[in-house]
Symmetry: C2
Subunit: 417 residues, 2 copies
């Protein structure tokens, strides 16, 4: 891509974002209504484009998890249309006034919720993530400039077409959602330096891409590097329920960041829990890498090496360890966790609360599947990503996380003395 082209596209997207920032809720919802119609209308074109991308990816030997993420099946397209409708139905956070107070000085102080500006979304082969990002940014009056992996070049062009039609049908500048042509690393580096136009960068993809973005960006970045999520089966846990959490967390969609990578079992539960767990995992095709104490109850397991804890397998592999007590589980997670999602299976409410308070993660679950750490499942409507750094947003980022507040003050001549 030619040097001036990128800067100009970003500047144009920033101007379009300012237009969207001033749009009222009704107009922004109208864009989303038009988008749902455009996605339905162009369903076959999108599916055809995606089929070509998937075929090429298979030819190029992309990994099965990557191909899974790239595939826009009919049911996933329907999920996306539902997400558009869900986000549209939500209240618009922009314009909300909060924390109103009148100070002793008579000054009226409040916070007014406003969009962030223009967001750069950098993804690999995730068409669903692109749609969700576009929907959330439109709803919150932000602009979006998207750089996708070349694996989804055709799919993203088809989706960009739908966004452009929707914005134009509502009388807005289609540049408010700009999908860039395929960029190399050098162009990406340039994009990440355009801090005059771009307010925030959200990368979605493998650890390599995310590290590249974090290390090269002159613009604030919200990201997670990886999800190394644990399930801890506490003393006295409901074993049947814990087993369901384990199978769902590990096997429902193993290529995702909120899938389980490791199982920790209290020693008192090892003999009762591990044999049926091992059988169930085996039946689902899961490869088990266990420490010696766990292997005593898992004859089918391989020996875990030290590098198997703290590792994001992203496939049907699970590390297993038996821990002497609750504290040891906390310590293991403090050492190997990735601030993403941590789960305890317990019948003790006090230990559940302590786990929620003391475990350092953006989402801590008691008796629920790690796979539910997702903007949709947690009631945010959709998500633009999950943040595992504590600045601005921590956990799934929905509508509110795409806004900020400014102070608005009203006085009758108050001075500083």
């Amino acid at each position: 891509m030619s040097r001036p082209g990128l800067e100009e596209m970003a500047a144009r997207a920033a101007r379009a974002a300012r237009g969207l920032a001033l749009a009222d809720s009704r107009l922004k919802d109208r864009v989303l209504e038009q988008l749902a119609a455009a996605l339905a209308r162009q369903k076959d074109d999108i599916a055809a484009a995606n089929a070509l991308d998937v075929a090429e990816a298979e030819k190029n030997g992309l990994s099965p998890p990557m191909i899974d993420r790239l595939s826009l099946t009919e049911s996933r397209l329907e999920d996306l249309s539902r997400a558009v409708a869900q986000v549209r139905a939500r209240p618009d956070p922009v314009g909300e006034i909060s924390d109103e107070k009148i100070l002793d000085s008579g000054l009226k102080v409040a916070r007014l919720r406003i969009p962030l500006g223009l967001i750069a979304f950098i993804c690999e082969a995730r068409p669903g993530a692109l749609v969700e990002a576009g929907v959330l940014t439109v709803k919150t009056g932000n602009g979006l400039i998207v750089k996708c992996g070349r694996e989804m070049a055709r799919t993203s062009a088809a989706l960009a077409e739908a966004f452009g039609q929707a914005l134009q049908a509502a009388g807005l500048d289609p540049a408010a959602v700009t999908v860039l042509p395929t960029l190399g690393r050098e162009d990406l580096r340039r994009l990440l330096s355009l801090s005059e136009s771009i307010d925030l960068v959200i990368p979605r993809g493998g650890e390599g891409l995310i590290r590249f973005v974090s290390e090269n960006s002159r613009i604030p970045v919200l990201k997670h590097f990886k999800g190394v999520c644990h399930l801890y089966v506490d003393q006295g846990a409901d074993r049947d329920q814990a087993l369901k959490l384990l199978i769902n967390g590990k096997t429902q969609r193993p290529s995702t960041c909120n899938s389980l990578e490791a199982l920790l079992v209290h020693q008192s539960e090892a003999a009762g829990f591990l044999p049926p767990a091992g059988a169930a995992l085996l039946a689902k095709g899961v490869r088990i890498k266990a420490d010696p104490a766990a292997r005593a109850f898992l004859p089918e397991a391989e020996a875990a090496g030290p590098e198997d804890f703290g590792r994001e397998f992203l496939d049907l592999t699970l590390a297993v360890r038996v821990v002497p007590d609750f504290e040891a589980a906390l310590e293991h997670i403090a050492r190997y966790g990735s601030n993403h999602t941590e789960v305890i299976a317990t019948r003790d409410p006090e230990r559940g609360r302590r786990f929620q308070r003391d475990v350092e993660a953006s989402c801590v679950m008691v008796n629920a599947s790690s796979r539910l750490n997702d903007g949709g499942c947690l009631g945010l409507g959709a998500e633009i990503g999950i943040s595992t750094t504590r600045l601005h947003a921590y956990g799934p980022m929905g509508l509110r996380e795409l806004t900020t507040t400014r102070f608005i003050v009203e006085g009758d001549g108050q001075l500083r003395i």
Copy 2:
């Protein structure tokens, strides 16, 4: 400073921060109580150390605004003690649970407020800012690692002593507030790379320092580069009140970022407002740089050059322009403002609201002095700085801005389907 020393001090501060994160509100308030006592006890030592720093700064020819910021007069020390008490009296945001809801799936979802971790505070010659930063971080269970300018080496050592005594008296690791010895630029760059230990960087100082920090940090930075604040005198404004806002905003403490740098006057008010304003400014020693339309009413003014708009004078200089209408004032601010503080003097509530909504700044005031954009004056108790970038915090940063939330979820076996 030797290479291992810096990494070790940061790692120790991070460990101490984790201890403070687990402290309950009563214990953190006890530290603040002890701090107030230590500041009172060591008042004379602190004053003596500061007097030596000021004398050396004067000898070295530091600019008057820098010396003003460095000086810890008795009344400023009293202000700081009051700030300690005010922050102590506030509710602790850590541990607050918000946004509780029960989803259709039966999942209970909420957000739990938690500290950010370890904050690096990089300042030049601002002892007051150091104390406020320490007080706010202790209250919110965060650790603080401070790098000050060498101009305040003696003052910061005396203040560090007070923090250390207060933490130790409460049974906490004094490393939770670590004041580093004077660092050169190379060491500062190293500090800014310690993302394993440090969660956030807040620089306070001149634009040069802040740019250096932003450009060299591998850790998220919250900052403002400069404050180019405008007062717009609207058609029909209360002229007497507007004049008071002008004099207070420009002259009450011109070295600060929330002081006025420019005055915009609606053309219909120029003849009535500018002559008395010019006389009052002159009496206060303010140098005026005006555009031709304003100079017609300000015989004492110099001609403004193009570089005088959008400039942070930080002294008794003011740029003045007559604008044809409200829209022109918005455009001028959009072009020259710095997202810091903007003020309108108006009697029209609708224009006041539009100004608050459409002006891009972290704090927008109607009929109140720009000098009131300060955590203390806006009811936050104290502030650790002002952010003019929209990520995480926008405007003065008080207690809440030093925390984040994690998602806490409780289920009874919910799975992802």
